[in-house]
Every structure is written in structure tokens, then in C-alpha cells.
């Protein structure tokens, strides 16, 4: 800005040149309030319009696939529930089921029901987190508090059963966690659900239902919210399938596909629930689908709590767990989408190789296509509506 001859010359030289408006490279993240962690988007913008976006992932890579190769099966659940930390237990289940299938272990009914209850509770918790954070990204800060308040009830229940709010580490090969401490004499006394759990669950579920109604009135019906989300970030069905988008994002585009209906990793066929879908595949539909999914999850939990059978919590498995040679792929409907483990065993105490197929990674791969031509505020609306977790993207 210093004056002087050179500056004057420079400015005169610029006059004859046509006004140039080069695109600006905007680096969003890895530290940014709305990227849900350490996602980095390298956006080329022309004013507020985006010309291209390149997501850069890997800032949170923790090498779980490699870590899995150097740990035993019982040790692994403690790691795997950290992949998508909003859905702790739901990450453990497909892995444990894969190992059980290779071993040919029959899991007791009661354990399966407990797995269903906790998985659905984590789904509720994860979706409530989305319902709360998404309006925040659009600038409304109050729904956050309402949704998180009810989420607390669910987390308390999870804590009561597993001892952990986010990282339960509750699944065991052949069932769920047996007696804590577990001296020799107590081995048969399994640590069961805490006293009054079923009743408290019913009460908490009623509250979750209420907050769904609140969200419907406060957020879904809000004019500004609709203006910001309707017709924004439309993922057509064919694009969603091309990019491997799964879970609520896929259902938001109108595909009625839910692994709980398709696969049999947990006894979901015994419960009566619907698979909500959207119409247009825009941000609004993805929001509504998750809102509806909470209600369906509440239905599943209520039914499971009503019909939970008595019985052992864990099948008889050897003390030292060795999984026979073989390979198997188990996929599950996690809150974020399809979560799968491809487990290869050479007969040892730990896996030979584990390939983790996580939902968020595939879900955000659609971003460059989706964000092209959008506006900067829409980046945030679209990012938020895809509801990814960076731990799930990078593993």
C-alpha cells in the first residue's frame, strides 16, 4: 500500500487490462466449525458459487485395519466401537457376528435382544445428535439443547447397562458382557440388565417420542429451515447408487433399502417397523428420514423390551477364542449407513485381515459431484445433511 512512483506506474498499467476475476481457492477445514472434525474441503469459488470441491480425508486415520491384525478377538471390540463414535455398540455388532459365524456359535436369544435394544438406542442417540447439530449449522442454536436433553436419557440407559456412554465395549463373542470382575464362583452369574431398566426404557422412549414431535414443530415446520434445505443438495437415485451412498442418505433419495430388513445379523424380522423414505433426495428429505427413523427405532426398542426372553447372556465359548480358518463378510445397518467387516481368519487368536467398510467414507465420496455449482452456505447445509463422522471416514 506504500505510495511512490512504482505504485502509480503499477496502477496505471492495470487500467488498460480488463478486470479479471480469478477464482479463489477457499480452504475449508481441517479446522472449521462445521466440518464435523478434521475434514478438509479445498473449494474453488467464484464469489459465493462453488466451481469445484475436493475433499481431503485422512487427518484422522488411526489404522484400525492394521491394528486389528495384531490384536486378539476379545481385545478388538474396544477399538472398533471408536470407528463411528456416535454409534459405539453398533460398530461392534457386525464384527462380533462375523466371528461368531465363522466359529459356528449360536448366540442366546436374550443376548440378541439386548444387542437389538442397545443398537437401536445408539441409533436414536446418533440421530438425535444429527437433529440437534443440523439446525445449528443452519444458524438455529436452540433445537440443539432440546434434542440433546432427551439424548441424555438414552445415554444414561446405555451407561446403566454397559458402564460406558459412548464406548460400551459390551459385546463378547457368543453374547454380551458377562459378570464384571467375575471370580470363579460367580462365573455363572451373568451381569444382566440393571434393575428397573425395562421400565426406565419405556419412559425414556416416550420422552424421545415427544422430542421428535418438538423437532417436527420447531425445525421441520420452520419456513426458513425449509427454504434452506428444500431443493438443496439433491442426490438422484442413480448417483446415490453409483457412489455407494447408504443408510438414511440413500433412503432420503427414495430407495427403500434397509439392511435390517435384508440381512439377519440380529433378529430384526421379529419386530414390526417401517423403513421411511424421502421423495426428492434433498437435505430436507434426509432430515425427515432421520426424524422418522428415530420413531421407528423407538418402536423397535419398545417391542424388544416388551418381548425380551429370559435366559443366558452368553453362549459357551472356549476361554481362549480362536476363530477357525475362513472368511466372511457381515454388514449391518448402522446409524450412518452400511457398516461391514470382511473378516479373514487363519485360525489364530486374532484376525489375519479385517477390511472395514464404513458408511461415512462412501457417503462423502459424493461431495465433489454434489457441491459443484452450489453456494458457500449450501456447502454447510449439504455437509451437515450427509451426517458423517470423521472417525468413520478415516478409520
Amino acid at each position: 500500500m506504500s505510495g511512490g512512483g512504482a505504485g502509480v506506474l503499477h496502477s496505471e498499467a492495470r487500467v488498460s487490462v480488463e478486470l479479471q476475476t480469478p477464482e479463489m481457492t477457499l480452504n475449508i477445514g481441517p479446522q472449521h466449525p462445521s466440518t464435523h472434525g478434521v475434514l478438509r474441503l479445498v473449494a474453488k469459488v467464484d464469489g459465493e458459487r462453488i466451481e469445484s470441491v475436493e475433499p481431503v480425508v485422512g487427518y484422522m486415520h488411526r489404522g484400525y485395519e492394521k491394528l486389528a491384525e495384531v490384536r486378539t478377538y476379545p481385545q478388538l471390540t474396544a477399538l472398533l466401537n471408536r470407528i463411528d463414535w456416535t454409534a459405539g455398540l453398533a460398530n461392534e455388532v457386525p464384527f462380533v457376528v462375523a466371528a461368531e459365524r465363522l466359529m459356528g456359535v449360536e448366540v442366546p436369544e436374550r443376548a440378541q435382544y439386548i444387542r437389538v435394544v442397545l443398537t437401536e438406542m445408539f441409533r436414536i442417540s446418533a440421530h438425535l445428535l444429527f437433529l440437534s447439530s443440523y439446525p445449528l449449522e443452519l444458524g438455529a442454536s436452540t433445537p440443539l439443547m432440546y434434542a440433546l436433553r432427551e439424548r441424555e436419557h438414552v445415554l444414561d440407559l446405555i451407561e446403566g447397562v454397559t458402564g460406558g456412554r459412548f464406548h460400551p465395549n459390551f459385546n463378547r463373542i457368543g453374547g454380551v458382557k458377562p459378570a464384571a470382575g467375575g471370580g470363579k464362583g460367580q462365573r455363572s452369574v451373568a451381569q444382566d440388565l440393571p434393575r428397573g431398566f425395562l421400565e426406565q426404557t419405556r419412559r425414556a422412549m416416550a420422552k424421545v417420542f415427544e422430542v421428535c414431535d418438538d423437532m417436527e414443530a420447531l425445525v421441520r415446520g420452520n419456513e426458513i429451515f425449509q427454504q434452506r434445505t428444500k431443493g438443496v443438495g439433491i442426490i438422484p437415485v442413480e448417483k446415490a447408487l453409483e457412489y455407494g451412498v447408504s443408510g438414511p442418505n440413500l433412503r432420503g433419495s427414495g430407495v427403500r433399502f434397509d439392511l435390517r430388513k435384508v440381512e439377519d445379523y440380529l433378529p430384526y424380522d421379529r419386530f414390526d417397523f417401517e423403513v421411511p423414505i424421502g421423495e426428492n433426495g434433498d437435505c430436507f428429505d434426509r432430515y425427515v428420514v432421520r426424524l422418522e427413523e428415530i420413531r421407528q427405532a423407538v418402536r423397535i426398542v419398545t417391542q424388544a423390551v416388551d418381548g425380551i426372553p429370559a435366559g443366558p447372556l452368553r453362549a459357551r465359548v472356549p476361554r481362549v477364542i480362536k476363530v477357525p480358518r475362513g472368511e466372511c463378510y457381515v454388514r449391518a445397518e448402522n446409524p450412518k449407513g452400511e457398516m461391514g467387516y470382511y473378516l479373514v481368519s487363519m485360525g489364530g487368536r486374532g484376525p489375519y485381515r479385517v477390511k472395514i467398510r464404513s458408511a461415512s467414507f462412501s457417503n462423502i465420496s459424493v461431495l465433489p459431484w454434489l457441491l459443484e455449482g452450489a453456494l458457500v452456505p449450501d456447502i454447510i447445509a449439504i455437509l451437515g445433511s450427509l451426517d458423517f463422522v470423521l472417525g468413520d471416514v478415516d478409520r
Binding site: 500500500m1 480452504n27 462445521s34 439443547m145 432440546y146 420452520n222 426458513i224 458457500v376
Partner: protein
């Protein structure tokens, strides 16, 4: 001797205005913290100042004063440093024409409201200066959004005020209040209801408050034009934001709600309290909006302003003028 009297009086007025503006802003900040908290099922400030956390804004200000005054290496230093002052100056200058009672006014300019609108728009210049000089792309986008917002909203705001001016037949703030006293009704009931709505909406945009807080837009632009500011300069922006809210609420009260006048109360004595009560109501309204609504997009704001507010305010002027002639 007379010159001395002038300077003493000026000093007293300046000091009084500074106390009123900063004190009022701190009260509004406290209300924002506390009201917002209660709307969100929280308690809000609790410990500062022994009871009810009443000293929280002061504590915040003291904390900010201790922070390092950072200037980015690539920043245009002089503009960067001047921007918060311009911002605070603009909002403070508005108070020159705010009548707290028939006599309690710094200067009852003949151009009163015209001057107030001009001074208030300085705030946008400050945002543009801050955004441009910060050498930060997020700041730049915030600054440019602020400028776009000014163009979209200054017009309906001025047009809404013209309705009042036509009905009152004067630009002077005191005389506008007098006209409402003579009418026996505040203008919000007595003919300018549409103008009031437009004015409040446009004020929200001018103050960049939700649902029009795009220049700050935390989830998109980090903190918009304020991103690079820290310490005392951030405090000045922060204070200017709430002083601006105070000013906008005071002007709206004067133009539409009868200002310092309330039937049955002596305006000479109770005027300041009446005005502050009305300001409080409007400030509460704006706080309520902030904690309720999401944020619009810049293009949606523009289309809202140009397609709805400008035609509506023009129709309002036309209707007011016709009624003025007919009645």
C-alpha cells in the same frame, strides 16, 4: 465564559452518553445471555457478581481487554485497526439524535432521522473495512456479504422511515414524537404498522442478527469479518453490535412506539425510563428471534428484500401520502 460553559456541557453530555450507551449495551448483552439461556433450558451466567451472574458482561469485557491485540501479518494494518473504531463510532453517533425526553437529547437536529440512518450505515463500512483488511478469505466473504446486505436493506429501511416522515411532516426526532402525542396513538397503531414491521426486519439485517446474520455466520465463515480480531478490538465490535441493537431499538421506539411518551406519565421526568422500557421490549423481541430462527441464505435475503420489502414499503408510502392528503 460562555465558551467554557459550552465545553463543560459538551463534556458532561459525552460522558453521560458514553455511560448510557455502554451501560445499556451491557444490559442487553446480559439479557441476551440470560434470555437465550432460559429459552434453551439452561441457566446462563450464574457466578459472576455473586447473584444471577449479573457481572458476566463486565467480566467478559475485562477478559477480552487482557487478550493480545493480534494483527495478521498480511493485514492492511491501519484499516484493520481503524475498523472496530469506525463500527463503534457509527453506532454511538446515532445516539446524538435519540430523544430520552423532550429536553434530554444531545442535539435535536432538524434532519434528525436522516442523520441517524446515515450514521447507522457506517457500521457496514466498518464490516467491509474489517473484511477487506484482514487478509483472510472468510473475513473477506463476510465483509462482502455485509456490503450486499446493506444495499438490500438500507432501501426498505429508509422507505419505511419515509412513511413516518410523511405522516409526521418532520424529520426531527422530537417533533415526530410530538406528532404521535398529538395524534394520541403511537404510529405502530396509528397508520404505520407495515412500516414498523419493515423497519424492524431491516434493522435485523443491518445489525446482522439472526435470521440475517450471514456476515458473521459462524457455521460457514467461522466469524465472518470478525474472524481475525482479538482483544480490545474484538470487544469494540462486540460492543458495537449491541450498541447498534440499542440504537436501532431506540430509533424504532421513537418513530413507531411514541418514544419517551406514555399517556399519564410526565415525559419530562419519566421519559428516559419509558423509552428504555420500550427499547427493552424491542431488544427482547430481537433476542427472541435470534434464539429461534435459522439463518437465511444471502440470495434468499436479497430476493426477500427486493421482491417483498421494497414494493411493500413503496406501497406503504403511497398509502400514507394518500391518507395524509385525504384526512
Amino acid at each position: 465564559m460562555s465558551i467554557d460553559g459550552f465545553w463543560v456541557l459538551l463534556g458532561v453530555k459525552l460522558l453521560a452518553m458514553a455511560v448510557v450507551i455502554i451501560g445499556g449495551s451491557l444490559v442487553i448483552i446480559y439479557a441476551e445471555l440470560k434470555v437465550g439461556a432460559h429459552m434453551q433450558n439452561r441457566v446462563g451466567p450464574y457466578y459472576a457478581g455473586v447473584r444471577w451472574g449479573w457481572a458476566q458482561p463486565l467480566a467478559d469485557a475485562l477478559k477480552f481487554l487482557q487478550k493480545e491485540d493480534l494483527v495478521p501479518a498480511d493485514a492492511d494494518t491501519s484499516v484493520f485497526k481503524a475498523a472496530p473504531m469506525v463500527s463503534l463510532m457509527g453506532t454511538m453517533a446515532v445516539f446524538v439524535v435519540v430523544p430520552f425526553s423532550p429536553k434530554l437529547i444531545v442535539r435535536d437536529l432538524d434532519l434528525g432521522i436522516f442523520y441517524a440512518l446515515a450514521a447507522a450505515s457506517l457500521g457496514t463500512l466498518a464490516m467491509l473495512m474489517a473484511g477487506w483488511s484482514s487478509a483472510n478469505k472468510f473475513s473477506l466473504m463476510g465483509g462482502l456479504r455485509a456490503a450486499a446486505q446493506l444495499i438490500a436493506y438500507e432501501l426498505p429501511m429508509v422507505l419505511a422511515v419515509i412513511g413516518v416522515v410523511v405522516q409526521a411532516g418532520t424529520l426531527s426526532m422530537v417533533q415526530i414524537v410530538d406528532a404521535q402525542v398529538a395524534l394520541g396513538l403511537p404510529y405502530v397503531i396509528g397508520g404505520q404498522a407495515v412500516g414498523f414491521l419493515i423497519f424492524v426486519t431491516a434493522s435485523l439485517a443491518e445489525l446482522s442478527r439472526t435470521p440475517f446474520d450471514m456476515p458473521i455466520a459462524e457455521s460457514e465463515l467461522v466469524s465472518g469479518y470478525m474472524t481475525e480480531y482479538s482483544g480490545i478490538r474484538f470487544t469494540m465490535f462486540y460492543l458495537a453490535e449491541y450498541a447498534g441493537l440499542f440504537a436501532a431499538a431506540a430509533i424504532a421506539s421513537t418513530l413507531f412506539l411514541g418514544g419517551y411518551y406514555l399517556p399519564g406519565l410526565d415525559a419530562e421526568v419519566w421519559g428516559p425510563f419509558v423509552l428504555l422500557a420500550k427499547v427493552g421490549v424491542l431488544a427482547f423481541l430481537m433476542i427472541w428471534f435470534r434464539w429461534t430462527w435459522p439463518r437465511l441464505r444471502e440470495d434468499q435475503l436479497q430476493s426477500f428484500a427486493w421482491r417483498w420489502l421494497v414494493p411493500l414499503s413503496l406501497a406503504n408510502i403511497a398509502a400514507t401520502a394518500v391518507l395524509k392528503v385525504v384526512l
